[in-house]
């Protein structure tokens, strides 16, 4: 096959392999056209003033060793209004749900919480269960844009609402927030797309994350500022946004991107983080687990973005948790 034709066949085969690989990636991308980063179209209909988004890929987490750590939190949540609503409908979040996106927004007197779940929901069976549970204070609403819209009542006031938009998307939260999301979706609105900071940080999250969190304007980091002022480091620069995500296999991998106001701010933040990590690496004698975590950590700057990456092996994580537990016991 040697010769000009042979060379061309090899070059064409190489080109074909590249095109095939990129084609597979393009098809994979086309299958999720309406997503912004890890957020599905249904979650993009959350109210525009949503400041922070948190996400869990429940499907990937099912097989994760972290599930044991989260089960306590889940049990606590299931005891609340939203949890009771799910248990009355016989929904097990870990079995029926594949991914959850939680939006946090400031409301008078606290923080409003709205969760959108993707999974597999049997609407007929749920409808029958809902009718049966009506006596227990569950109100069924006929709302355009939702296949099944339920509201629980605490006395005369609506307490929590759950709506199944279709067989794959469900939303749970305060009744007015759920109604707003259903309305947005029915009108084809995706208000979250109009928040450039949030969208930019969502797009920074690498695909495949099992857990993630995004702060579209750095407000969450601002709340840490009183604590960071006590550290013997220069004041942290202003942050425009923050994205953090993690995966639990094969190691606990955590990545954080902080978007500074300008490249100088990014370099300043990176220098501070680099200094903290260097100090942590020097603690191998008295705190070997911290030193190992710091030795795997890295800081990189890309324009305004500072990226911190940390990898923690299971043995190191167990040792760290055990040490924290001992420290808690001593107090």
């Amino acid at each position: 096959m040697r010769g000009r034709t042979g060379s061309r066949i090899v070059a064409a085969a190489a080109g074909g392999l590249v095109i095939l690989g990129l084609g597979i990636a393009a098809v994979d991308r086309l299958l999720n056209p309406s997503r912004v980063g890890p957020v599905s179209a249904a979650a993009l209909a959350m109210p525009e003033d949503t400041r922070v988004l948190l996400g869990v890929d429940v499907g990937k987490l099912r097989d994760s060793p972290l599930l044991d750590s989260l089960s306590g939190f889940l049990e606590e949540w299931l005891k609340g209004d939203h949890g009771r609503l799910l248990s009355e409908l016989g929904i097990d979040p870990l079995e029926s749900v594949d991914e959850v996106v939680v939006g946090l927004r400031p409301v008078p007197g606290g923080t409003g919480l709205l969760a959108v779940a993707r999974g597999r929901f049997d609407l007929q069976a749920l409808g029958k269960l809902a009718d049966g549970a009506a006596a227990a204070g569950l109100e069924r609403r006929d709302t355009q844009g939702a296949a099944l819209h339920l509201v629980t009542r605490a006395g005369a006031e609506p307490a929590a609402a759950l709506a199944f938009l279709d067989g794959a998307d469900a939303v749970i939260g305060a009744p007015e927030d759920v109604a707003a999301l259903i309305g947005n979706r029915a009108r084809g609105l995706e208000p979250l797309r109009s928040s450039p900071g949030l969208v930019a940080m969502l797009q920074a999250i690498e695909p495949g994350a099992q857990l993630w969190a995004v702060d579209g304007d750095g407000a969450a980091l601002e709340q840490l500022r009183p604590y960071t002022r006590r550290l013997p480091f220069p004041a942290l620069p202003e942050i425009d946004g923050l994205a953090a995500w993690g995966a639990t296999a094969p190691v606990l991998a955590l990545d954080v991107i902080a978007r500074a106001r300008d490249p100088e701010g990014a370099r300043s933040l990176a220098d501070t983080l680099g200094g903290v990590l260097t100090l942590a690496r020097l603690q191998s004698g008295i705190f070997p687990e911290l030193a190992e975590v710091a030795s795997t950590a890295s800081v990189a700057v890309d324009g305004r973005d500072v990226r911190l990456g940390i990898r923690i092996r299971k043995q190191v994580l167990d040792a760290l948790l055990a040490r924290l537990e001992r420290a808690g016991g001593d107090q």
């Binding site: 040697r2 690989g21 991308r29 695909p207 991998a253």
Partner: protein, 273 residues
């Protein structure tokens, strides 16, 4: 006894592009079907084997310290951009003319009705085509192998990164290739100086201060946003804007090739019989 290479009759030379295309065809064929290419193809496909090993390690539940995506990024930034691609450029580009001199076949090329600029341009293009033919499939297969298992949407979300990585590798090859082409026309035996350049001079990229700006490595690495060397060394790493890096590498490629063409066009080659 030595004979001078015959002086060129430039009155009937072929048009530049036609001549360069002819030289490209001949050189591409010769480069692709060589033992050098076999060795370099094995080297460049090493990440695919590492990807398979990574999944095998996970299948038997061996503890690994990094994720598949981390491994892909490390392979791109440390294996390809820092080591393998400069080596590929060294072995191909230094030999573009040196091999013809060594094999005493340069006379045959220079007596053809083609300009010396078209000879070197055709050979440089053939080097780029061969190197990309060997590199890009390995990178894409490695990427698919290491990223796709993360789940639906993972590979699709990484499409822009894959395209950017491929472009960065192309620029890296072009810049190192032009530098080594220049070395190849300047020196009779350019491989050892080339290795010294790669593994001694380019090491300056890891030092603090202004010196890293005189290396190609710092600009090639600056094209990619992946995390750099973990440890204390990262404190000294120079962070440059990707567009600055791309412009610098493009300028080095153009300047290196033009200088090499200038030297090659004016140099008289003596062929010992």
């Amino acid at each position: 006894m030595t004979t001078e290479a015959p002086s060129r009759d430039t009155s009937g030379t072929l048009p530049f592009l036609t001549a360069a295309r002819g030289v490209f065809d001949l050189s591409f064929e010769a480069m692709l079907w060589s033992r050098r290419s076999l060795f370099l193809a094995l080297l460049l496909c090493l990440p695919i084997a590492l990807g398979v090993l990574f999944h095998a390690a996970q299948a038997v539940e061996l503890q690994t310290r990094i994720t598949g995506r981390d491994l892909y990024q490390l392979l791109v930034v440390l294996f390809y951009v820092r080591n393998a691609l400069p080596l590929v450029a060294l072995f191909y580009a230094t030999s573009l003319i040196a091999d013809e001199v060594e094999g005493r076949t340069l006379t045959f090329l220079l007596t053809r009705p083609v300009s010396r600029a078209s000879v070197l341009t055709g050979k440089y293009a053939a080097f780029l085509a061969t190197a990309l033919t060997l590199t890009l499939p390995a990178v894409v297969v490695g990427g698919v192998l290491l990223i796709a298992p993360e789940g639906a949407g993972a590979l699709g979300g990484s499409l822009p990164a894959l395209l950017r990585d491929m472009a960065a590798m192309g620029l890296t090859l072009a810049a190192y290739g032009a530098a080594f082409t220049l070395l190849g026309v300047l020196l009779r035996r350019p491989v050892i100086p080339g290795l010294v350049f790669l593994f001694v001079w380019e090491f300056l990229a890891n030092l603090p201060g202004y010196l890293p700006r005189f290396t190609l490595s710092v600009y090639a690495r600056g094209l990619l946003p992946y995390r750099s060397i973990p440890g204390l060394g990262e404190l000294f790493l120079l962070d440059l804007e990707p567009w600055t890096c791309a412009a610098t590498l493009a300028a080095v490629s153009a300047a290196g090739l033009l200088l090499a063409i200038g030297i090659f066009s004016s140099r008289e080659y003596s062929m010992s019989q």
